[in-house]
Symmetry: C2
Subunit: 376 residues, 2 copies
């Protein structure tokens, strides 16, 4: 069974109203040639600070330290960083092969900056393949092509966000109470978000009465970023601690859950921010629909199941300290996985730019990729 | 079905080794006549600060502000505060009836200091009933009787803790990996804790390999208090964010869960720290045994189910700020219930000082109260 919309969704936000510009304070990255600008998300919501990048290694560091985060956004940042990487390699090696070899090393460093979100590897590999194809062209031509391709990926992500928003909203009744985890918003993408694109479209269509935002420990992306985005747009938002979501579902206060994703295996198993799995188990117990919203770049069909998705473990201090204030005693051990894997069986549907996929995901994901390849 | 141990559990920690004194830094309250000393739990683990109380209203404020917290501990603090309340009332009214009337008002103020944990109401009512019984006695005799009764309740709580620890540990295999939520430890009781009494006994018997401590947002009692208690005693402890517990269970890393309780209805529905319900749902999905550990003073058999347990909602700032640092944008709404209710169906067993109760709880709880009344 797979729902694969044969016709565009009927919505009041038509594709013709695209693009709606996001306010600058909600845009995670911008290309200001020859610089990449990143909104420093570690300082939000208190401070809006843009940082400027011209080197690939510095962008890798920005990804690791979460200046930029969110699977699609780090993919895009890396796509732009590959322009720097190529220029750096070309400045050292005038010959095509040694230059490509060095570019590959720099690409590997970028890919290693965060291991779980596959959009990063996808975007870096796209750029690497392009450089390889053009290896006999002049340096400037290759650099320009990488720049044009990064800008195209950005535009595509924006269009995909918009489309996913419409598909997701089409699933909802009027005045739905939605819940989301982490930040799968404008700040996590090139445009309107994945899960929050659905929220935005639903709100515009009168289908979103309110949003419950999980604060999302340990990095508090829900409190710091999702609440910031939604409050900025006047969408009624209630912040909760992650452990309160079950209580809301028990009271019948949640009509649907939308989350983003960092990597989706061929069978639909989905790695996303830690806490997503817990939420999905609780949603199942309460029969609350649980949707994953992701562009095709988040799917890693090379993995048959979620078991082999690498899960990043981050530093203890993310759990034991907040803003430099120590919360736990010294001497305590910490387990701090940044992601977990939600089995496909707990996922009601997957909202992608090419339609809403339903179980069996092995089949519907394969079908989506086939259709997408045919459309290119 | 109810398991009601007919004989004492076989353990290496015998009742004869009771009491083991807790280190002073883990004792939440002490009676230093005519003062009540409270360990200020809002400052832990960074600072060990004792505050001195001589007025009932100040104790009520200490309960509200969580200087002292944990259902059994606030009950005990209130029992001592009733000595102050009586002395205050007697200083104003020499006649028995007006004095008792004022005492009742002060008792009500104490009971209103936190609405969910029923141990508070239980202890205050115990003291009130004693004062009423003795109303024709000299003031000093009543005051002394209240003092003796508070000390008796404290000693009883310590003995109950010890017994629950033994009953709980008897349920475990060697080298079990345990998980707990919030702080149901020494700091929450008069002695060794409820859930953490089980941990202590299990560790002493080689049945506890390690403890996972949920940090327990928003007040972080797990990070601040449980980790502090267990690290102080050298029990291997791993701190996790609440939303990571499901991931551990998914990996088969948790053998049993023990939590305390704030109020248990006649059918076994259990109010405890927010997040307990979520944990219980996830435990059920993974077939991890989920135990509630509580003295009889936590049971409110006047309530047929958990539906009518009042759930305290606390200030937004507990969620939006940590240590005065703002984490969320201004303008966001907050939902901050301090407790949730776990339906009896999710609870594997209830460890009480009179045995381990099992479903059907309506029957086993009634049986426990009957046996307890017969034993007095």
């Amino acid at each position: 069974m797979s729902l694969y919309p044969p016709t565009p969704c009927s919505t009041s936000l038509s594709a013709s109203s695209f693009p709606v510009a996001m306010p600058k304070t909600l845009v995670p990255l911008a290309w200001d040639a020859p610089k990449l600008l990143l909104l420093d998300q570690t300082c939000l919501p208190e401070q809006t600070r843009w940082l400027s990048y011209t080197q690939s290694e510095a962008v890798a560091e920005a990804i690791t330290s979460m200046v930029v985060r969110g699977a699609p956004a780090i993919g895009l940042a890396a796509a732009f960083a590959m322009i720097f990487a190529f220029n750096e390699a070309a400045a050292i090696h005038s010959m095509a092969l040694p230059c490509l070899q060095l570019l590959k090393e720099k690409a590997d460093a970028l890919k290693a900056s965060r291991p779980t979100a596959v959009n990063l590897m996808w975007a870096v590999d796209k750029q690497l393949a392009l450089a390889e194809t053009l290896q006999n062209e002049p340096v400037e031509a290759i650099s320009n092509a990488l720049e044009a391709n990064a800008l195209r990926l950005l535009a595509q992500d924006q269009a995909d966000n918009w489309q996913m928003g419409l598909y997701g909203a089409a699933l909802l009744q009027a005045n739905s109470r939605l819940l989301t985890h982490c930040n799968a918003g404008a700040l996590a993408t090139g445009g309107y978000g994945t899960a929050l694109a659905v929220v935005r479209a639903a709100y515009a269509q009168g289908k979103c009465l309110k949003v419950y935002a999980d604060e999302t420990r340990p990095r508090l992306q829900g409190a710091r970023l999702t609440a910031y985005e939604l409050v900025a747009e006047g969408i009624p938002t209630t912040l909760i601690c992650d452990n309160m979501a079950a209580s809301l579902m028990q009271k019948g206060e949640v009509d649907a859950i939308f989350v983003g994703a960092d990597r989706i295996a061929a069978n639909g198993d989905t790695a996303n921010k830690i806490g997503t799995y817990s939420l999905a188990v609780v949603a199942k117990a309460h029969q609350v629909p649980f949707y994953v919203v992701a562009p095709l770049s988040t799917f890693d069909v090379s993995l048959p199941t979620g078991e082999s998705i690498p899960i990043e473990e981050r530093h203890d201090s993310e759990v034991t300290e907040i803003e430099g204030v120590r919360l736990a005693p010294k001497g305590v051990s910490v387990y701090n996985p940044a992601f977990d894997v939600t089995p496909a069986a707990l996922i009601t549907g997957m909202i992608t730019p090419v339609g809403v996929l339903q179980p069996d995901y092995n089949s519907s994901i394969a079908q989506a990729f086939k259709a997408s390849a045919a459309a290119v």
